[in-house]
């Protein structure tokens, strides 16, 4: 406590500084944050709107408010400092500080609003709409958080605190200018395991496995609703606006009462709702009208606007239809959005299935499309390079590829067996040393010499498998335990550049190879080596998802590609984060130009 007081007194001496662009951690919370009070002058405020009491390690009560953004709001930092000056406070403790706090909170704090985006179908463009709105409103100075109560996805990411949430909420948080997305933004994550069963992740931690009936019959009526309420309320207290994303269609009338991803969530959060319809496939007026009319009247009232999305050709051609739709439903069409060519990570496997080949270049990177492929957004940065990324399911499809990536999988052992049965494993052995091969997570485990599943954790059968043998590494699936952690560090090869990623895996690997990289942010252990490399054989493996995001490893890997004898040009390789950010700006401007923004702000309830 004395240490904090000392820091606060230094802050008071320094005066108002606004955003501290010289700080290497800026922005540690959100773009444009006020850094005047890096340490809160009101700690511990004991205000339940802003923080909560936790039981500390020694059983003592600790006031926890690391998620509080109040003091970092530009208007708050400025106000608090001006009051400190006005009252002539020179150091803390000072009894008048709490008066300033009370005034500041009364003047500048109010609970946030919630706005929900639902879609007529699963690929209506909800995620993209939420991302666009997050960017537009954050640019206009609102503090915005994305939220999806329940997300079914195989693409997840790890938060700063080691929680697992859906990739798309992380992307939306980036759109909102937030630095550290957290588990409140996606409190329920369903990861399909096949046969109708999903692993349910709650607040970023594995909770239980359910089939469809079990999920709707036990989980939802049990803890489900309370989880949604707790987390959306949490966000509402901290942000001006929570932009919620629905899942699938909100009018699945067979499960309407137990569907906590759509209108029930809107009700819980008291959110008004925008319906997004993808017009690309046709039938959009029927989808829109049917969705609106199948929703029971008391909930239907929440739907305040319709967006017709993904229009190819002239948007004005749809206006007569939109006018009729308005007339029939009584709900305004607040935007007709043209199709936009935008490169952003894709949410579900639908996109993967439809496009077998992404990218344009001549050099071909074959990605083995495991039946249980997971975290395939790892490949997105490669798709932006001058190469073709080809997802392959048969050994012969690997003929003539210039590089291979073995991506992550939900089940290493089962997918390894699949790969042995269909000849891909032998094919990869024949490619060894001829083209660069990189394995990520499950793919990395397969590159080792042994996959020890003698407890039957992965494959069901108690067995030890011989891996591809590219590395001497041995991976054991000893117990049902998952590693979930964010990593930062640098490569030990190539340009030794920075890398950032996250680990999400079952099984532990005993590494016998030189490391590919070193991780430096595990404060309790010190720097640790990670991954494996055999540069002479062009073999690379790592547990880190997101390894291709920063330019260093991507550049390094691509530099081994030789297409028709020509070494791949890697001079233009850029940071994927920057590319994503540019695309978010592009997306936001397409929406902003074609949306009735005044109407939208009115619906969102944040008009100032």
């Amino acid at each position: 406590m004395d240490c904090i007081k000392k820091k606060v007194n230094e802050e008071i001496q320094a005066g108002w500084i606004g955003t501290n662009r010289n700080c290497e951690y800026n922005p540690c919370h959100f773009k444009g944050q006020d850094c005047t009070f890096c340490y809160c002058p009101f700690y511990p405020c004991h205000d339940e709107d802003l923080g909560n009491m936790l039981i500390g390690r020694r059983g003592n009560e600790v006031w926890a408010c690391s998620d509080c953004l109040f003091i970092h709001r530009p208007e708050v930092g400025r106000y608090v400092m001006s009051e400190i000056r006005r009252l002539g406070i020179e150091s803390v403790p000072d009894p008048r500080m709490m008066d300033i706090f009370r005034d500041a909170k009364e003047k500048l704090w109010r609970p946030g609003k919630a706005l929900m985006v639902v879609g007529a179908t699963s690929d209506a463009g909800k995620s993209i709409t939420v991302a666009a709105l997050c960017r537009i409103l954050s640019n206009r100075g609102y503090l915005v958080a994305p939220f999806k109560s329940q997300n079914m996805s195989l693409n997840s990411k790890v938060t700063r605190c080691g929680a697992e949430i859906a990739m798309i909420q992380v992307l939306q948080a980036q759109a909102a200018g937030l630095t550290a997305p957290d588990e409140h933004m996606n409190p329920i994550l369903l990861k399909p395991k096949g046969d109708d069963v999903s692993q349910v992740i709650v607040c970023g931690k594995p909770y239980a496995d359910y089939d469809v009936k079990g999920y709707y019959g036990e989980f939802v009526p049990g803890p489900g609703r309370d989880i949604v309420k707790e987390h959306v309320d949490f966000l509402k207290k901290r942000y001006d606006l929570v932009i919620m994303e629905g899942a699938g269609s909100p009018a699945e009338i067979n499960i309407y009462d137990v569907d906590i991803a759509n209108m029930q969530a809107a009700k819980i959060a008291d959110a008004d709702v925008i319906l997004v319809v993808n017009v690309e496939w046709g039938g959009s007026f029927a989808y829109a009208l049917g969705t609106v009319e199948l929703i029971p009247e008391e909930d239907r009232k929440r739907i305040k606007g319709i967006i017709l999305n993904n229009v190819r050709g002239h948007t004005e051609n749809l206006r007569p239809g939109a006018d009729k739709l308005e007339e029939i439903t009584g709900i305004p069409v607040i935007g007709i959005i043209p199709h936009a060519e935008i490169d952003l990570p894709s949410e579900d496997s639908q996109g993967l299935r439809r496009s077998h080949s992404k990218g344009n270049g001549k050099a071909v990177i074959g990605v083995v499309k495991f039946p249980r492929i997971a975290n395939f957004t790892d490949l997105d940065p490669l798709c932006l390079e001058d190469v073709s990324v080809l997802f392959v399911e048969r050994a012969e499809d690997l003929d003539g590829v210039d590089a291979v990536v073995l991506p992550g999988t939900k089940n290493t052992v089962s997918d390894f067996r699949w790969m042995c049965e269909n000849g891909i494993a032998d094919k990869l052995r024949s490619l060894r040393g001829r083209v660069p091969i990189a394995g990520i997570c499950g793919g990395y485990q397969m590159m080792g010499s042994i996959l020890d599943d003698s407890n039957g954790i992965e494959g069901g059968e108690k067995r030890v498998y011989e891996g591809l043998g590219f590395f001497g590494n041995k991976t054991a699936f000893g117990e049902y335990k998952k590693v979930v952690v964010q990593d930062e560090g640098h490569l030990k090869v190539g340009d030794l550049g920075a890398i950032k990623g996250y680990e999400l895996h079952m099984g532990m690997t005993e590494v016998t190879e030189p490391p590919l990289l070193v991780i430096e942010n595990h404060f309790d252990t010190g720097p640790v080596d990670e991954g494996s490399v055999r540069e002479d054989e062009m073999l690379f493996g790592t547990y880190l998802h997101g390894i291709f995001d920063k330019p260093s490893f991507r550049k390094y890997f691509l530099s081994f590609i030789k297409h028709d004898g020509v070494v791949h040009d890697t001079s233009e390789v850029r940071s994927y984060d920057d590319i994503v950010d540019e695309n978010l700006d592009k997306l936001a401007s397409v929406f902003e130009e074609n949306l009735d923004m005044d109407r939208l702000l009115e619906i969102a309830g944040v008009v100032r």
Binding site: G119, A120, T121, S122, D123, D196, V212, K213, G248, S249, A251, E252, I253, N254, I255, E280, W281, G282, G283, S284, F285, A286, Y287, A288, L289, G290, T291, E293, L294, N317, L318, R319, P320, G321, A322, K324, L325, Q350, R353, R354, H356
Partner: protein, 277 residues
């Protein structure tokens, strides 16, 4: 007997479900032929008598075990780029239409009707396929394959909804709602296509749609990873296809689809009942 299959969107599965019905009824001794009043497609087939029709109708015709003829698709629209569409009537190029040059409906539509009536002679059942969604309210007045055919030829109709992308109940209900009132009495049934998983979860939703619309659910067709000829530019062409003879391979895929539909309890008799009018 005649029945029209309408889709909730492009790619809902009209073409394959029509082909499946053709195949099933052909296998059961009903003399069946396909018909599509108007087809917007790049993929066409040359008939034995030197005419051009949409690939989908050729495929459906094989499913019926008969030689494709131009009456099965009397109006074919072929996009030529730059907004120009070649209009093929009765298998022969007739005109190019564009934004400023609309199709000559007075010429084309009577020929569409006449082709249908020629098919009626000598066949027991005509399985008609609509095009896209029948209720694009911004362009409904220009429609041929759905609304015009329905009204002009008074064909009882079935909606095919694709459940894979979600929102199938809304799509079926919304389509029914937007069908003009004078045609509502022809809306007889619906089919849920491409379902994966345990069908019992759909029960309450199906019942509700039946109650709201008076249409009958004819079945829930399982998802099939089978490849069929490409109909329009939007369909994806994934799925398995085995064998050297592409024609035979499509038909063998179709036979599998028919068998799976029978196993799923699809109400083929109900389709015939609707087709009888």
């Amino acid at each position: 007997m005649k029945v029209l299959l309408l889709g909730t969107s492009s790619g809902a599965g009209k073409t394959t479900v029509s082909a499946m019905l053709c195949r099933y009824f052909c296998r059961n001794g009903v003399k069946t032929v396909p018909f599509k009043g108007s087809n917007l497609s790049l993929n066409s087939y040359a008939t034995a008598d030197g005419g051009e029709i949409g690939m989908g109708q050729a495929f459906q015709s094989w499913a019926c075990g008969v030689e494709p003829c131009t009456d099965m698709n009397p109006l074919l629209l072929k996009p030529c780029g730059d907004g120009v569409i070649q209009v093929v009537v009765d298998g022969q190029p007739y005109m190019d239409m564009s934004k400023n040059v609309p199709m000559n409906r007075e010429y084309a539509l009577p020929r569409v009707g006449a082709a249908f009536h020629r098919l009626e002679d000598g066949n027991d059942l005509i399985v008609c396929e609509g095009s896209g969604s029948p209720v694009e309210i911004n362009i409904m007045h220009r429609d041929v394959a759905n609304i015009w055919v329905m009204r002009e030829l008074q064909i009882p109709s079935i909606i095919i909804g694709d459940i894979e992308r979600g929102g199938v109940f809304a799509a079926i209900y919304g389509t029914w709602r937007l069908i003009p009132d004078d045609l509502k009495h022809l809306m007889k049934g619906f089919v849920i296509n491409r379902f994966r998983g345990d069908g019992s979860i759909l029960g309450p939703g199906i019942k509700r749609i039946e109650e709201l619309t008076g249409m009958k659910c004819l079945g829930v067709l399982p998802y099939e990873d089978l490849r069929f000829p490409e109909e329009d530019s939007l369909s994806s062409s994934s799925g398995s296809l085995e064998g050297d003879d592409i024609h035979a391979a499509f038909i063998s895929n179709l036979d599998k689809m028919v068998d799976d539909a029978v196993d799923s309890g699809f109400d083929f008799d109900g389709v015939l009942e609707i087709a009888r009018g």
